[in-house]
Protein backbone atom coordinates (compact mmCIF):
# COMPACT_ATOMS: atom_id res chain seq x y z
CA UNK A 1 0.00 0.00 0.00
CA UNK A 2 2.65 2.39 1.07
CA UNK A 3 4.88 1.89 -1.96
CA UNK A 4 1.98 3.17 -4.02
CA UNK A 5 1.83 6.22 -1.81
CA UNK A 6 5.54 6.90 -2.23
CA UNK A 7 5.32 7.30 -6.00
CA UNK A 8 2.28 9.55 -5.93
CA UNK A 9 3.16 11.56 -2.85
CA UNK A 10 4.00 15.23 -3.07
CA UNK A 11 7.08 14.48 -0.96
CA UNK A 12 8.53 12.33 -3.70
CA UNK A 13 11.22 14.76 -4.75
CA UNK A 14 12.30 15.78 -1.32
CA UNK A 15 12.13 12.15 -0.24
CA UNK A 16 14.39 11.15 -3.08
CA UNK A 17 16.73 14.03 -2.26
CA UNK A 18 16.95 13.10 1.38
CA UNK A 19 17.64 9.47 0.48
CA UNK A 20 20.41 10.58 -1.88
CA UNK A 21 21.76 12.88 0.77
CA UNK A 22 21.90 9.93 3.07
CA UNK A 23 23.45 7.54 0.66
CA UNK A 24 26.16 10.12 0.12
CA UNK A 25 26.35 11.04 3.78
CA UNK A 26 26.31 7.73 5.54
CA UNK A 27 26.76 4.16 4.45
CA UNK A 28 24.75 3.01 7.47
CA UNK A 29 21.61 3.84 5.52
CA UNK A 30 22.27 0.82 3.31
CA UNK A 31 21.40 -1.39 6.28
CA UNK A 32 17.73 -0.88 5.54
CA UNK A 33 18.06 -2.18 2.00
CA UNK A 34 17.84 -5.98 2.62
CA UNK A 35 14.67 -5.67 4.69
CA UNK A 36 13.21 -3.14 2.24
CA UNK A 37 13.82 -5.42 -0.74
CA UNK A 38 12.55 -8.49 1.14
CA UNK A 39 9.27 -6.77 2.01
CA UNK A 40 8.91 -5.38 -1.51
CA UNK A 41 9.42 -8.73 -3.25
CA UNK A 42 7.65 -11.03 -0.81
CA UNK A 43 4.99 -8.78 0.62
CA UNK A 44 3.97 -5.90 -1.62
CA UNK A 45 4.35 -7.67 -4.98
CA UNK A 46 2.40 -10.80 -3.92
CA UNK A 47 -0.34 -8.82 -2.18
CA UNK A 48 -0.80 -6.45 -5.12
CA UNK A 49 -0.78 -9.44 -7.49
CA UNK A 50 -3.53 -11.04 -5.41
CA UNK A 51 -5.55 -7.85 -5.77
CA UNK A 52 -5.01 -7.98 -9.54
CA UNK A 53 -6.08 -11.61 -9.71
CA UNK A 54 -9.31 -10.72 -7.91
CA UNK A 55 -10.15 -8.54 -10.93
CA UNK A 56 -9.38 -11.32 -13.39
CA UNK A 57 -11.88 -13.40 -15.33
CA UNK A 58 -12.83 -16.41 -13.14
CA UNK A 59 -11.52 -19.67 -14.60
CA UNK A 60 -11.74 -22.68 -12.28
CA UNK A 61 -8.42 -24.35 -11.58
CA UNK A 62 -6.29 -21.64 -13.25
CA UNK A 63 -4.13 -19.30 -11.20
CA UNK A 64 -2.13 -17.67 -13.99
CA UNK A 65 -3.26 -14.15 -14.85
CA UNK A 66 -5.53 -13.88 -17.90
CA UNK A 67 -5.18 -10.07 -18.07
CA UNK A 68 -8.87 -9.64 -18.78
CA UNK A 69 -10.18 -7.21 -16.23
CA UNK A 70 -13.67 -7.71 -14.97
CA UNK A 71 -15.65 -7.06 -11.82
CA UNK A 72 -17.42 -10.45 -12.07
CA UNK A 73 -15.92 -11.77 -8.85
CA UNK A 74 -17.00 -8.78 -6.80
CA UNK A 75 -20.46 -8.72 -8.40
CA UNK A 76 -20.81 -12.39 -7.51
CA UNK A 77 -19.77 -11.67 -3.92
CA UNK A 78 -22.21 -8.83 -3.38
CA UNK A 79 -25.19 -10.45 -5.11
CA UNK A 80 -25.19 -13.85 -3.41
CA UNK A 81 -26.39 -13.82 0.15
CA UNK A 82 -24.11 -16.75 1.07
CA UNK A 83 -21.16 -14.43 0.55
CA UNK A 84 -22.28 -10.96 1.59
CA UNK A 85 -24.16 -12.66 4.43
CA UNK A 86 -20.83 -14.07 5.58
CA UNK A 87 -19.33 -10.58 5.43
CA UNK A 88 -22.17 -9.12 7.51
CA UNK A 89 -21.94 -12.01 9.98
CA UNK A 90 -18.18 -11.47 10.26
CA UNK A 91 -18.65 -7.77 11.02
CA UNK A 92 -21.43 -8.42 13.53
CA UNK A 93 -19.34 -11.10 15.23
CA UNK A 94 -16.16 -9.01 15.38
CA UNK A 95 -18.07 -6.01 16.80
CA UNK A 96 -19.64 -8.18 19.49
CA UNK A 97 -16.24 -9.68 20.35
CA UNK A 98 -14.68 -6.22 20.62
CA UNK A 99 -17.40 -5.08 23.05
CA UNK A 100 -17.14 -8.20 25.23
CA UNK A 101 -13.33 -8.11 25.38
CA UNK A 102 -13.50 -4.44 26.34
CA UNK A 103 -15.81 -5.15 29.28
CA UNK A 104 -13.69 -8.15 30.35
CA UNK A 105 -10.31 -6.62 29.60
CA UNK A 106 -10.70 -3.21 31.22
CA UNK A 107 -10.70 -4.38 34.87
CA UNK A 108 -7.68 -6.61 34.25
CA UNK A 109 -5.78 -3.83 32.47
CA UNK A 110 -6.69 -1.42 35.28
CA UNK A 111 -5.45 -3.83 37.94
CA UNK A 112 -2.15 -4.45 36.12
CA UNK A 113 -1.62 -0.75 35.41
CA UNK A 114 -2.20 0.16 39.07
CA UNK A 115 -0.12 -2.67 40.56
CA UNK A 116 3.02 -0.93 41.75
CA UNK A 117 4.87 -3.90 43.22
CA UNK A 118 7.34 -4.64 40.38
CA UNK A 119 7.46 -8.39 41.02
CA UNK A 120 3.71 -8.80 40.99
CA UNK A 121 3.39 -6.52 37.98
CA UNK A 122 5.87 -8.63 36.00
CA UNK A 123 4.06 -11.78 37.10
CA UNK A 124 0.73 -10.47 35.76
CA UNK A 125 2.38 -9.35 32.52
CA UNK A 126 3.97 -12.77 32.04
CA UNK A 127 0.56 -14.44 32.52
CA UNK A 128 -1.06 -12.17 29.92
CA UNK A 129 1.81 -12.52 27.43
CA UNK A 130 1.94 -16.31 27.81
CA UNK A 131 -1.81 -16.51 27.18
CA UNK A 132 -1.34 -14.35 24.09
CA UNK A 133 1.69 -16.13 22.68
CA UNK A 134 0.39 -19.64 23.15
CA UNK A 135 -0.74 -21.13 19.86
CA UNK A 136 -4.51 -20.58 19.52
CA UNK A 137 -5.10 -24.18 18.42
CA UNK A 138 -3.85 -25.39 21.80
CA UNK A 139 -6.10 -22.94 23.63
CA UNK A 140 -8.99 -24.16 21.45
CA UNK A 141 -8.32 -27.72 22.61
CA UNK A 142 -8.90 -26.56 26.18
CA UNK A 143 -12.02 -24.61 25.20
CA UNK A 144 -13.47 -27.58 23.32
CA UNK A 145 -12.92 -29.87 26.32
CA UNK A 146 -14.67 -27.29 28.50
CA UNK A 147 -17.60 -26.33 26.25
CA UNK A 148 -18.55 -29.50 24.32
CA UNK A 149 -21.90 -31.28 24.82
CA UNK A 150 -19.94 -33.84 26.85
CA UNK A 151 -17.53 -31.20 28.09
CA UNK A 152 -16.57 -30.31 31.64
CA UNK A 153 -19.09 -27.48 32.04
CA UNK A 154 -22.10 -29.40 30.69
CA UNK A 155 -21.10 -32.53 32.67
CA UNK A 156 -20.89 -30.53 35.88
CA UNK A 157 -24.24 -28.81 35.29
CA UNK A 158 -25.96 -32.10 34.34
CA UNK A 159 -24.52 -33.93 37.35
CA UNK A 160 -25.66 -31.13 39.63
CA UNK A 161 -29.15 -31.50 38.14
CA UNK A 162 -29.34 -27.84 37.15
CA UNK A 163 -30.03 -28.61 33.51
CA UNK A 164 -31.77 -31.50 31.71
CA UNK A 165 -30.14 -31.11 28.31
CA UNK A 166 -26.55 -30.08 27.60
CA UNK A 167 -26.29 -26.36 26.85
CA UNK A 168 -25.33 -25.59 23.23
CA UNK A 169 -22.07 -23.82 24.08
CA UNK A 170 -20.11 -24.84 21.00
CA UNK A 171 -20.59 -25.48 17.26
CA UNK A 172 -22.71 -22.34 16.95
CA UNK A 173 -22.37 -18.56 16.78
CA UNK A 174 -21.91 -18.10 20.53
CA UNK A 175 -19.19 -20.77 20.58
CA UNK A 176 -17.24 -18.82 17.95
CA UNK A 177 -17.72 -15.61 19.95
CA UNK A 178 -16.46 -17.29 23.15
CA UNK A 179 -13.43 -18.62 21.26
CA UNK A 180 -12.64 -15.23 19.72
CA UNK A 181 -12.98 -13.47 23.08
CA UNK A 182 -10.46 -15.90 24.59
CA UNK A 183 -8.25 -15.35 21.54
CA UNK A 184 -8.25 -11.55 21.56
CA UNK A 185 -8.53 -10.67 25.25
CA UNK A 186 -4.73 -10.37 25.80
CA UNK A 187 -4.43 -7.85 22.95
CA UNK A 188 -7.19 -5.71 24.44
CA UNK A 189 -5.52 -5.83 27.86
CA UNK A 190 -2.12 -4.86 26.42
CA UNK A 191 -3.64 -1.95 24.46
CA UNK A 192 -5.32 -0.61 27.60
CA UNK A 193 -2.49 -1.00 30.12
CA UNK A 194 -0.23 1.65 28.58
CA UNK A 195 -3.00 4.25 28.37
CA UNK A 196 -4.35 3.64 31.89
CA UNK A 197 -0.82 3.81 33.31
CA UNK A 198 -0.17 7.14 31.62
CA UNK A 199 -3.21 8.81 33.28
CA UNK A 200 -1.87 11.17 35.92
CA UNK A 201 -3.21 9.97 39.32
CA UNK A 202 -3.40 13.56 40.55
CA UNK A 203 -6.32 14.16 38.16
CA UNK A 204 -8.31 11.52 40.01
CA UNK A 205 -7.18 12.94 43.36
CA UNK A 206 -8.22 16.42 42.28
CA UNK A 207 -11.69 15.14 41.39
CA UNK A 208 -11.91 13.35 44.76
CA UNK A 209 -10.79 16.43 46.68
CA UNK A 210 -13.51 18.41 44.90
CA UNK A 211 -16.08 16.00 46.30
CA UNK A 212 -16.49 13.36 43.56
CA UNK A 213 -17.17 9.84 44.78
CA UNK A 214 -14.72 7.13 43.75
CA UNK A 215 -17.25 5.76 41.32
CA UNK A 216 -17.83 9.19 39.76
CA UNK A 217 -14.09 9.84 39.52
CA UNK A 218 -13.63 6.51 37.78
CA UNK A 219 -16.40 6.98 35.23
CA UNK A 220 -15.89 10.69 34.61
CA UNK A 221 -12.09 10.96 34.75
CA UNK A 222 -10.37 7.59 34.23
CA UNK A 223 -12.65 6.06 31.59
CA UNK A 224 -12.77 9.14 29.29
CA UNK A 225 -9.00 9.52 29.54
CA UNK A 226 -8.49 5.87 28.54
CA UNK A 227 -10.51 6.43 25.34
CA UNK A 228 -7.46 6.21 23.01
CA UNK A 229 -6.61 2.78 24.42
CA UNK A 230 -10.25 1.67 24.30
CA UNK A 231 -10.45 2.64 20.62
CA UNK A 232 -7.09 1.15 19.66
CA UNK A 233 -7.84 -2.09 21.52
CA UNK A 234 -11.33 -2.44 20.04
CA UNK A 235 -10.00 -1.84 16.54
CA UNK A 236 -7.25 -4.40 17.01
CA UNK A 237 -9.67 -6.98 18.39
CA UNK A 238 -12.12 -6.29 15.56
CA UNK A 239 -9.38 -6.72 12.95
CA UNK A 240 -7.99 -9.99 14.32
CA UNK A 241 -11.44 -11.46 15.02
CA UNK A 242 -12.63 -10.85 11.50
CA UNK A 243 -9.44 -12.43 10.10
CA UNK A 244 -9.42 -15.59 12.18
CA UNK A 245 -9.81 -18.86 10.33
CA UNK A 246 -9.08 -21.43 12.99
CA UNK A 247 -11.53 -20.22 15.68
CA UNK A 248 -14.67 -20.26 13.49
CA UNK A 249 -13.48 -23.50 11.86
CA UNK A 250 -13.16 -25.38 15.15
CA UNK A 251 -15.68 -23.63 17.42
CA UNK A 252 -18.33 -23.16 14.72
CA UNK A 253 -18.32 -26.76 13.51
CA UNK A 254 -18.81 -25.60 9.88
CA UNK A 255 -22.13 -24.02 10.80
CA UNK A 256 -20.74 -20.50 11.21
CA UNK A 257 -19.27 -19.65 7.81
CA UNK A 258 -17.25 -16.43 7.87
CA UNK A 259 -15.06 -14.82 5.21
CA UNK A 260 -11.75 -16.62 5.96
CA UNK A 261 -13.56 -19.98 5.72
CA UNK A 262 -15.05 -19.00 2.34
CA UNK A 263 -11.56 -18.05 1.11
CA UNK A 264 -10.14 -21.41 2.09
CA UNK A 265 -13.05 -23.35 0.58
CA UNK A 266 -12.98 -21.44 -2.72
CA UNK A 267 -9.25 -21.97 -3.15
CA UNK A 268 -8.39 -25.30 -1.56
CA UNK A 269 -11.60 -27.18 -2.29
CA UNK A 270 -13.04 -25.59 -5.44
CA UNK A 271 -9.94 -24.19 -7.16
CA UNK A 272 -11.69 -20.84 -7.74
CA UNK A 273 -8.60 -18.69 -7.35
CA UNK A 274 -9.98 -15.43 -8.70
CA UNK A 275 -13.11 -15.56 -6.56
CA UNK A 276 -11.12 -16.57 -3.47
CA UNK A 277 -8.81 -13.62 -4.10
CA UNK A 278 -11.84 -11.31 -4.35
CA UNK A 279 -13.12 -12.46 -0.94
CA UNK A 280 -9.62 -11.88 0.46
CA UNK A 281 -9.72 -8.32 -0.90
CA UNK A 282 -13.12 -7.71 0.72
CA UNK A 283 -11.80 -9.10 4.03
CA UNK A 284 -8.75 -6.85 3.87
CA UNK A 285 -10.86 -3.83 2.89
CA UNK A 286 -13.15 -4.43 5.88
CA UNK A 287 -10.28 -4.40 8.36
CA UNK A 288 -8.74 -1.33 6.69
CA UNK A 289 -12.15 0.37 6.90
CA UNK A 290 -12.10 -0.28 10.65
CA UNK A 291 -8.72 1.49 10.84
CA UNK A 292 -10.04 4.49 8.88
CA UNK A 293 -13.18 4.76 11.02
CA UNK A 294 -10.99 4.52 14.11
CA UNK A 295 -8.66 7.27 12.95
CA UNK A 296 -11.53 9.64 12.11
CA UNK A 297 -13.17 8.92 15.41
CA UNK A 298 -9.88 9.28 17.27
CA UNK A 299 -9.38 12.66 15.60
CA UNK A 300 -12.81 13.78 16.84
CA UNK A 301 -12.35 12.57 20.41
CA UNK A 302 -8.87 14.06 20.59
CA UNK A 303 -10.30 17.40 19.49
CA UNK A 304 -8.28 17.40 16.30
CA UNK A 305 -5.01 16.99 18.20
CA UNK A 306 -3.79 14.10 16.07
Amino acid sequence: MNTMDLTSSPYQNSFGRSVRAFLGGSRVFWLILPAFAFFLIFFFVPVLSLFLISLDKPVAGVVEPQWSFTATNFIRFFTRDTYYGAALRSIEMATLVALITLVLGYPLAFMIARTENPGRNTFYMILVLCAMQLDMVIRLYGLMVLLGDNGLINRALLDAGWIEEPLPLMYNFSGVVIGLVQFSLPLMVLSLIGVIRSINPSLEEAARSLGATRRAAFWRIIVPLSMPGILAGSLLVFAISISSYVVPALMGGWKVIVMPIHIYQQIAELGKWQFGAAIAVVLFATSVLAVVVYQRYAAITAGGRT
Binding site: S18, I32, Y141, A232, S243
Partner: protein, 286 residues
Protein backbone atom coordinates in the same frame (compact mmCIF):
# COMPACT_ATOMS: atom_id res chain seq x y z
CA UNK B 1 7.51 20.25 68.17
CA UNK B 2 6.30 21.72 64.94
CA UNK B 3 8.60 19.37 63.01
CA UNK B 4 7.10 16.24 64.63
CA UNK B 5 3.61 17.36 63.80
CA UNK B 6 4.55 17.87 60.17
CA UNK B 7 6.00 14.40 59.72
CA UNK B 8 2.97 12.82 61.39
CA UNK B 9 0.76 14.79 59.05
CA UNK B 10 2.80 13.66 56.12
CA UNK B 11 2.46 10.04 57.16
CA UNK B 12 -1.32 10.36 57.44
CA UNK B 13 -1.42 12.07 54.08
CA UNK B 14 0.66 9.38 52.43
CA UNK B 15 -1.49 6.65 53.95
CA UNK B 16 -4.60 8.33 52.63
CA UNK B 17 -2.99 8.64 49.25
CA UNK B 18 -2.11 4.96 49.28
CA UNK B 19 -5.64 3.89 50.16
CA UNK B 20 -7.01 6.27 47.53
CA UNK B 21 -5.01 4.43 44.92
CA UNK B 22 -5.80 0.91 46.11
CA UNK B 23 -7.71 -1.01 43.47
CA UNK B 24 -11.49 -1.22 44.10
CA UNK B 25 -12.69 -4.71 44.96
CA UNK B 26 -15.18 -4.80 42.04
CA UNK B 27 -12.33 -4.20 39.59
CA UNK B 28 -10.21 -6.86 41.25
CA UNK B 29 -13.02 -9.40 40.88
CA UNK B 30 -13.43 -8.46 37.22
CA UNK B 31 -9.69 -8.78 36.68
CA UNK B 32 -9.58 -12.26 38.13
CA UNK B 33 -12.55 -13.34 36.03
CA UNK B 34 -10.50 -12.31 32.99
CA UNK B 35 -7.47 -14.22 34.25
CA UNK B 36 -9.65 -17.33 34.60
CA UNK B 37 -10.90 -16.92 31.00
CA UNK B 38 -7.33 -16.51 29.80
CA UNK B 39 -5.78 -19.35 31.75
CA UNK B 40 -8.50 -21.96 32.32
CA UNK B 41 -8.25 -23.43 28.78
CA UNK B 42 -4.48 -23.70 29.23
CA UNK B 43 -4.90 -25.48 32.56
CA UNK B 44 -7.41 -27.85 30.93
CA UNK B 45 -4.87 -28.73 28.23
CA UNK B 46 -2.24 -29.55 30.86
CA UNK B 47 -4.73 -31.72 32.79
CA UNK B 48 -5.93 -33.47 29.62
CA UNK B 49 -2.34 -34.24 28.65
CA UNK B 50 -1.54 -35.73 32.07
CA UNK B 51 -4.85 -37.56 32.45
CA UNK B 52 -4.84 -41.34 32.60
CA UNK B 53 -8.23 -41.93 30.94
CA UNK B 54 -9.30 -41.52 27.33
CA UNK B 55 -11.52 -38.55 28.12
CA UNK B 56 -10.95 -35.75 30.56
CA UNK B 57 -13.44 -35.80 33.42
CA UNK B 58 -13.57 -33.60 36.44
CA UNK B 59 -12.10 -34.50 38.81
CA UNK B 60 -9.55 -36.36 36.60
CA UNK B 61 -9.43 -40.15 36.88
CA UNK B 62 -5.76 -40.05 37.69
CA UNK B 63 -2.44 -38.73 36.52
CA UNK B 64 -0.26 -40.63 34.12
CA UNK B 65 2.44 -40.00 31.55
CA UNK B 66 0.59 -42.19 29.06
CA UNK B 67 -0.18 -39.42 26.57
CA UNK B 68 3.15 -37.69 27.07
CA UNK B 69 4.88 -40.96 26.18
CA UNK B 70 2.50 -41.42 23.24
CA UNK B 71 3.53 -37.95 22.03
CA UNK B 72 7.26 -38.54 22.55
CA UNK B 73 7.16 -41.86 20.66
CA UNK B 74 4.93 -40.72 17.79
CA UNK B 75 6.95 -39.94 14.65
CA UNK B 76 4.15 -37.73 13.31
CA UNK B 77 3.85 -35.56 16.43
CA UNK B 78 7.58 -35.36 17.11
CA UNK B 79 8.10 -34.58 13.43
CA UNK B 80 5.65 -31.68 13.59
CA UNK B 81 7.18 -30.40 16.82
CA UNK B 82 10.71 -30.63 15.42
CA UNK B 83 9.64 -29.02 12.16
CA UNK B 84 8.07 -26.09 14.02
CA UNK B 85 11.24 -25.71 16.10
CA UNK B 86 13.44 -25.66 12.99
CA UNK B 87 11.08 -23.27 11.20
CA UNK B 88 10.95 -20.92 14.21
CA UNK B 89 14.76 -20.96 14.61
CA UNK B 90 15.46 -20.17 10.95
CA UNK B 91 12.73 -17.49 10.98
CA UNK B 92 14.17 -16.02 14.16
CA UNK B 93 17.69 -15.68 12.73
CA UNK B 94 16.56 -14.08 9.45
CA UNK B 95 13.99 -11.79 11.11
CA UNK B 96 16.47 -10.64 13.73
CA UNK B 97 19.15 -9.77 11.18
CA UNK B 98 16.79 -7.98 8.76
CA UNK B 99 14.76 -6.33 11.52
CA UNK B 100 17.69 -5.08 13.57
CA UNK B 101 19.36 -3.55 10.51
CA UNK B 102 16.11 -1.81 9.54
CA UNK B 103 15.45 -0.64 13.10
CA UNK B 104 18.87 1.00 13.30
CA UNK B 105 18.17 3.13 10.24
CA UNK B 106 14.56 3.84 11.29
CA UNK B 107 15.42 5.06 14.76
CA UNK B 108 18.85 6.63 14.31
CA UNK B 109 18.19 8.87 11.32
CA UNK B 110 15.66 11.59 10.80
CA UNK B 111 14.62 11.82 7.21
CA UNK B 112 11.51 12.66 5.27
CA UNK B 113 9.32 9.63 4.70
CA UNK B 114 10.59 7.88 7.82
CA UNK B 115 7.09 7.37 9.23
CA UNK B 116 5.98 6.04 5.88
CA UNK B 117 8.88 3.62 5.87
CA UNK B 118 8.01 2.51 9.40
CA UNK B 119 4.42 1.85 8.28
CA UNK B 120 5.84 -0.07 5.30
CA UNK B 121 7.55 -2.51 7.67
CA UNK B 122 4.56 -2.84 10.00
CA UNK B 123 2.05 -3.48 7.21
CA UNK B 124 2.19 -7.33 7.36
CA UNK B 125 0.51 -7.03 10.75
CA UNK B 126 -2.49 -5.22 9.26
CA UNK B 127 -3.07 -7.81 6.55
CA UNK B 128 -5.04 -10.87 7.74
CA UNK B 129 -2.63 -13.84 8.03
CA UNK B 130 -4.80 -16.06 5.83
CA UNK B 131 -4.69 -13.41 3.06
CA UNK B 132 -0.90 -13.10 3.34
CA UNK B 133 -0.51 -16.88 3.13
CA UNK B 134 -2.78 -16.98 0.10
CA UNK B 135 -0.98 -14.09 -1.62
CA UNK B 136 2.38 -15.82 -1.12
CA UNK B 137 1.04 -19.17 -2.31
CA UNK B 138 -0.38 -17.62 -5.50
CA UNK B 139 2.90 -15.71 -6.00
CA UNK B 140 4.98 -18.90 -5.62
CA UNK B 141 2.75 -20.85 -8.02
CA UNK B 142 2.60 -18.14 -10.69
CA UNK B 143 6.29 -17.22 -10.64
CA UNK B 144 7.27 -20.90 -10.43
CA UNK B 145 10.68 -20.26 -8.87
CA UNK B 146 10.60 -23.37 -6.70
CA UNK B 147 9.17 -21.74 -3.59
CA UNK B 148 5.74 -23.41 -3.71
CA UNK B 149 5.46 -26.29 -1.24
CA UNK B 150 8.95 -25.63 0.09
CA UNK B 151 10.39 -24.91 3.51
CA UNK B 152 11.87 -21.66 2.13
CA UNK B 153 8.40 -20.55 1.11
CA UNK B 154 7.12 -21.09 4.66
CA UNK B 155 10.12 -19.30 6.16
CA UNK B 156 9.46 -16.24 3.97
CA UNK B 157 5.87 -16.03 5.21
CA UNK B 158 6.97 -16.37 8.82
CA UNK B 159 9.72 -13.74 8.46
CA UNK B 160 7.14 -11.25 7.15
CA UNK B 161 4.94 -11.62 10.23
CA UNK B 162 7.76 -11.77 12.80
CA UNK B 163 10.02 -9.00 11.47
CA UNK B 164 7.69 -6.18 12.64
CA UNK B 165 8.05 -7.43 16.22
CA UNK B 166 11.85 -7.35 15.98
CA UNK B 167 11.76 -3.85 14.48
CA UNK B 168 9.44 -2.68 17.29
CA UNK B 169 11.50 -4.16 20.13
CA UNK B 170 14.90 -3.09 18.75
CA UNK B 171 13.63 0.42 17.97
CA UNK B 172 12.44 0.76 21.56
CA UNK B 173 15.92 -0.26 22.78
CA UNK B 174 17.58 2.21 20.40
CA UNK B 175 15.33 5.07 21.48
CA UNK B 176 16.25 4.38 25.10
CA UNK B 177 19.97 4.36 24.20
CA UNK B 178 21.79 7.65 24.59
CA UNK B 179 23.42 8.47 21.24
CA UNK B 180 25.87 10.84 22.89
CA UNK B 181 27.74 7.78 24.26
CA UNK B 182 28.50 6.73 20.71
CA UNK B 183 29.39 10.32 19.78
CA UNK B 184 31.78 10.42 22.73
CA UNK B 185 33.53 7.31 21.41
CA UNK B 186 33.75 8.93 17.97
CA UNK B 187 35.26 12.11 19.43
CA UNK B 188 37.86 9.98 21.20
CA UNK B 189 38.97 8.62 17.85
CA UNK B 190 36.89 5.48 17.30
CA UNK B 191 35.80 4.76 13.74
CA UNK B 192 32.01 4.76 13.14
CA UNK B 193 31.99 0.97 12.92
CA UNK B 194 34.09 0.51 16.08
CA UNK B 195 31.94 2.99 18.00
CA UNK B 196 28.83 1.16 16.89
CA UNK B 197 30.21 -2.30 17.65
CA UNK B 198 31.78 -1.47 21.02
CA UNK B 199 29.26 1.02 22.39
CA UNK B 200 25.86 0.69 20.74
CA UNK B 201 25.68 -3.09 20.21
CA UNK B 202 26.25 -4.01 23.88
CA UNK B 203 23.66 -1.44 24.91
CA UNK B 204 20.90 -2.68 22.64
CA UNK B 205 21.71 -6.41 22.79
CA UNK B 206 18.98 -7.09 25.37
CA UNK B 207 16.41 -5.47 23.09
CA UNK B 208 17.67 -7.51 20.13
CA UNK B 209 17.51 -10.73 22.16
CA UNK B 210 13.98 -9.92 23.29
CA UNK B 211 12.96 -9.24 19.69
CA UNK B 212 14.51 -12.55 18.63
CA UNK B 213 12.62 -14.42 21.37
CA UNK B 214 9.39 -12.79 20.22
CA UNK B 215 10.08 -13.73 16.62
CA UNK B 216 10.70 -17.33 17.68
CA UNK B 217 7.51 -17.66 19.64
CA UNK B 218 5.30 -15.87 17.11
CA UNK B 219 6.62 -18.18 14.40
CA UNK B 220 6.21 -21.27 16.60
CA UNK B 221 2.53 -20.48 17.25
CA UNK B 222 1.77 -19.22 13.74
CA UNK B 223 -1.32 -20.82 12.19
CA UNK B 224 -2.85 -18.40 9.68
CA UNK B 225 0.15 -17.83 7.42
CA UNK B 226 1.04 -21.53 7.46
CA UNK B 227 -2.47 -22.63 6.43
CA UNK B 228 -1.94 -22.19 2.68
CA UNK B 229 1.82 -22.80 2.69
CA UNK B 230 2.11 -26.12 4.52
CA UNK B 231 1.98 -29.50 2.82
CA UNK B 232 1.68 -33.04 4.27
CA UNK B 233 5.49 -33.19 4.29
CA UNK B 234 5.92 -29.74 5.80
CA UNK B 235 3.49 -29.63 8.70
CA UNK B 236 4.17 -27.22 11.56
CA UNK B 237 2.75 -28.12 14.98
CA UNK B 238 -0.27 -25.72 14.89
CA UNK B 239 -1.45 -27.26 11.61
CA UNK B 240 -0.94 -30.81 12.94
CA UNK B 241 -2.90 -29.87 16.06
CA UNK B 242 -5.68 -28.39 13.94
CA UNK B 243 -5.99 -31.56 11.87
CA UNK B 244 -6.06 -33.66 15.03
CA UNK B 245 -8.75 -31.46 16.62
CA UNK B 246 -10.92 -31.68 13.53
CA UNK B 247 -10.74 -35.39 12.94
CA UNK B 248 -9.55 -37.45 15.91
CA UNK B 249 -9.38 -35.29 19.04
CA UNK B 250 -6.80 -37.50 20.78
CA UNK B 251 -5.24 -36.57 24.15
CA UNK B 252 -1.81 -36.87 22.47
CA UNK B 253 -2.56 -33.40 21.07
CA UNK B 254 -2.89 -32.11 24.63
CA UNK B 255 0.46 -33.70 25.50
CA UNK B 256 1.97 -31.89 22.50
CA UNK B 257 0.30 -28.75 23.84
CA UNK B 258 2.08 -29.18 27.18
CA UNK B 259 5.45 -29.04 25.44
CA UNK B 260 4.40 -25.93 23.53
CA UNK B 261 3.20 -24.33 26.78
CA UNK B 262 6.59 -25.01 28.39
CA UNK B 263 8.32 -23.37 25.43
CA UNK B 264 6.11 -20.26 25.62
CA UNK B 265 6.51 -19.88 29.40
CA UNK B 266 10.30 -20.23 29.15
CA UNK B 267 10.46 -17.67 26.31
CA UNK B 268 8.37 -15.17 28.24
CA UNK B 269 10.51 -15.62 31.37
CA UNK B 270 13.58 -14.95 29.22
CA UNK B 271 11.92 -11.85 27.73
CA UNK B 272 10.99 -10.53 31.17
CA UNK B 273 14.66 -10.80 32.18
CA UNK B 274 15.80 -8.96 29.06
CA UNK B 275 13.40 -6.04 28.86
CA UNK B 276 11.08 -4.31 31.27
CA UNK B 277 7.60 -5.70 30.66
CA UNK B 278 6.19 -2.57 32.31
CA UNK B 279 7.03 -0.69 29.13
CA UNK B 280 5.16 -3.24 27.08
CA UNK B 281 2.08 -1.18 26.33
CA UNK B 282 0.82 -3.28 23.46
CA UNK B 283 2.03 -3.38 19.92
CA UNK B 284 1.41 -0.32 17.80
CA UNK B 285 -0.40 -1.33 14.67
CA UNK B 286 -0.59 1.81 12.61
Amino acid sequence: MAKVATSAELRVASQRRWSERAIPISIQIGAWVSFVILLLPVAVVVLAGLNSGDYLTFPPEGLSLRWVIAFLTSPAWMGAYGFSMALALVTMVISTVLGTAAAIVLSRYRFRGRDMLRAYFLSPLILPGVVLGLALYVFYVVTDIGLAKSMTGLVIGHVLVTCPYVIGTVSAALVAFDVSLEEAARSLGASPWTAFRRITVPNISAGVAAGATFAFIVSFGQFDVSLFLSTPNLTPLPIALYVSLRYTFEPTAAAAGIFAIILVVVSMLITSRLVSLRKFGGIKFS
